[in-house]
């Protein structure tokens, strides 16, 4: 039986791991390669590296980091942040990334999704969507969640799936950093609209939040950062509890 995935997310700035609370106020949570190895040996099903470096030059260190991660760990990982072109993706995949996540570049140029899928296959193209509710409507945001767009979350999700994306990583900015649980209602609605896996992100604070996002939210995978980085939740404990609740996980 296909299992639900637990995905620690490592936010990377200038080659170091950081975690933003509501995307602001960064704190240092260790060396990316060490942390990746720790998670791969302690039950993580997959990892996501999200580069939030400010400049193109600092971002170049990312592909070197990807190479070191690929050498070290034996589980799949996705790389995102500042990816703008087919050439960017080619470099990251060549260095050993299994999947890439594109976000702002896909909004600015949706055709990029089709181009990437045609060249690399649907299985390695994740579209990350940051959204929050404005006047009761889920609106997509750009640039790490700072700039609102005219795009509605659900319409955009349908479009990226039609363009061939293999997976959607949906971060609710209303929930991110709050530790009050994932955006389960929006996630469940997404699952009725698209037929590709959905990764829930933003809001993980306790084990029941994961239970809820896999059941009520119908998520295929759940991503979290600080609860794992600061050892508030051990992945092994989390998985034992999920199993008890009848949710299939890899043990």
């Amino acid at each position: 039986m296909l299992t639900k995935r637990i995905i620690p997310c490592l936010d990377i700035k200038n080659g170091r791991t950081v975690k933003g609370v509501n995307f602001i106020n960064l704190r240092d949570a260790g060396d990316p390669v060490d942390l990746a190895k720790f998670y791969s040996e302690n039950g993580a099903d997959e990892l996501v590296f999200l580069d939030i470096s400010a400049t193109e030059e600092k971002r170049r260190t990312l592909s070197e980091l990807v190479l070191r991660v690929a050498e070290t760990i034996n589980i799949p990982f996705t790389v995102g942040g500042g990816i703008n072109s087919v050439a960017d993706v080619e470099r990251l995949l060549r260095n050993g990334a299994d999947k890439v996540a594109i976000n702002s570049a896909a909004i600015r140029n949706p055709q990029l999704i089709n181009d990437l899928v045609a060249k690399f296959g649907t299985q390695c193209i994740v579209v990350a969507i940051d959204a929050k509710q404005i006047d009761g409507q889920w609106m997509v945001h750009l640039v790490g969640g700072k700039v609102p767009t005219e795009l509605n979350l659900f319409n955009w999700a349908v479009e990226v799936a039609e363009r061939g994306a293999g997976e959607i990583l949906f971060t609710s900015m209303d929930h991110d950093g709050t530790k009050n649980g994932f955006a389960d209602a929006a996630l469940a609605h997404l699952s009725t609209l698209v037929n590709i896996p959905i990764i829930a992100s933003g809001g993980a604070g306790s084990i029941p939040h994961f239970v809820s996002t896999f059941t009520n939210g119908k998520a295929d995978a759940a991503l979290a950062a600080s609860v794992f980085h600061f050892k508030e939740i051990e992945i092994s404990t989390l998985k034992e509890e999920l199993k008890k609740q009848g949710i299939p996980v890899r043990s």
Partner: protein, 198 residues
């Protein structure tokens, strides 16, 4: 000592396989040179991406006629395994015809692609030494090989399908052993031991 050859025909993330072998203590060469492939101790045939364009690449390099005639152990991974079958529905392409089975798309009643860790069972043959029934392997694919006479492991996703195939010296796995933690490492080790006896 003879090489382990990883066929490099421009299809996807092949460094992962090289790194996985490195962690097991084996050096492997990435190559699309027919001579080098024919003279290797064993051959890994990877691939992610789209089936018909991958077949086009194999044909243009002449590897489509080299691979089916190899005599040493050959391991196809993911799309590599699918291309070793008779035909694929993806891009309506013929395959290399090593395994007598067709590759078809999952029905839309399940999420496609299947992404994540799933169990393998009904394990048969040398690839699965020291691997238990229902161990988890990481898999990511939209198309699958049906169950057939060559099936040596199966997985269930809406329906049961071939997680692994074997015919003579040819092996194929739908999942990614290089990304499947220690279970995947044991499988790669089993494969290499077929060629490089300790």
């Amino acid at each position: 000592m003879k090489n382990i050859a990883i066929i490099d025909y421009g299809a996807g993330n092949i460094k992962s396989i090289q790194f996985a072998l490195q962690r097991l203590g084996y050096e492997a060469v990435l190559t699309q040179n027919a001579n080098e492939i024919q003279n290797a101790a064993c051959v890994i045939f990877p691939g992610v991406g789209e089936a018909s364009s991958a077949m086009t690449k194999l044909r243009s390099s002449g590897l489509d006629t080299v691979i089916p005639k190899l005599l040493q152990p050959v391991l196809g991974i993911c799309l590599g395994m699918q291309l070793m079958c008779t035909a694929s529905e993806e891009g309506n392409t013929k395959g290399l015809g090593i395994f007598d089975v067709e590759v078809t798309k999952f029905p839309i009643s399940v999420k496609v692609p299947q992404i994540g860790w799933n169990t393998i069972e009904n394990l048969k043959g040398p690839l699965f030494t020291n691997i238990s029934e229902k161990e988890y392997m990481y898999t990511v694919h939209s198309y699958y090989a049906q169950l057939c006479a060559a099936t040596v492991a199966q997985t269930e996703y809406h329906l049961p399908y071939s997680a692994a195939l074997q015919k003579d010296n040819f092996f194929g796995v739908q999942f990614h052993p290089e990304k499947s933690s220690s279970a995947g490492e044991r499988l790669l080790h089993n494969f290499i031991k077929l060629a490089l006896k300790p």
